[in-house]
Symmetry: C2
Subunit: 93 residues, 2 copies
């Protein structure tokens, strides 16, 4: 039997890697008067719904597609923040 | 006294709002053979470091700049996923 899972994957620039988007947002915040902000790092968040036999299979598939598609491993790191069964209430269809 | 805080802010397209980036990623995953993926929603994740007198002041400032800069409230929703004191170990400088 196959079940539906939903994963939250966060992709962030690696520490030490230049982040022009984050720097642009920091500059914009300063221009708007938010001088107390000292640093911004900008990344991506993905919500992926997948059918898999069990949680381990779902996690393996999500990790593989994160490495291949969602993140660029040269300059980014990803983290599977959560992996939970997809219930009707959370489906948002 | 002012303290440093770090906030993680997630910005996602609202339910029902078209998400062309998520749809493009879903199509790419299918082309690569990940047919078990049924849906992808793509959003943004921001890590914001800010000086504030206390946690409430930090949260208020982060919420205001999320509304004004980080998210477009017409089509996106934001969530302050976490707000924690910035320690030396977490500073990543």
């Amino acid at each position: 039997m196959s079940n539906a899972w939903v994963a939250e994957v966060v992709v962030m620039p690696k520490a030490g890697v230049n982040d022009p988007q984050g720097e642009a947002i920091l500059g914009g915040l300063h221009d708007l008067g938010y001088r107390a902000v000292s640093r911004v790092r900008a990344g991506k968040q993905f919500r992926v719904e997948i059918d898999a036999e069990n949680e381990a299979a779902a996690r393996n598939a999500i990790a593989e597609m994160s490495d291949r598609v969602l993140a660029n491993p040269v300059i980014e790191v990803y983290e599977i923040e959560s992996l939970t069964p997809l219930t009707g209430a959370g489906a948002e269809r």
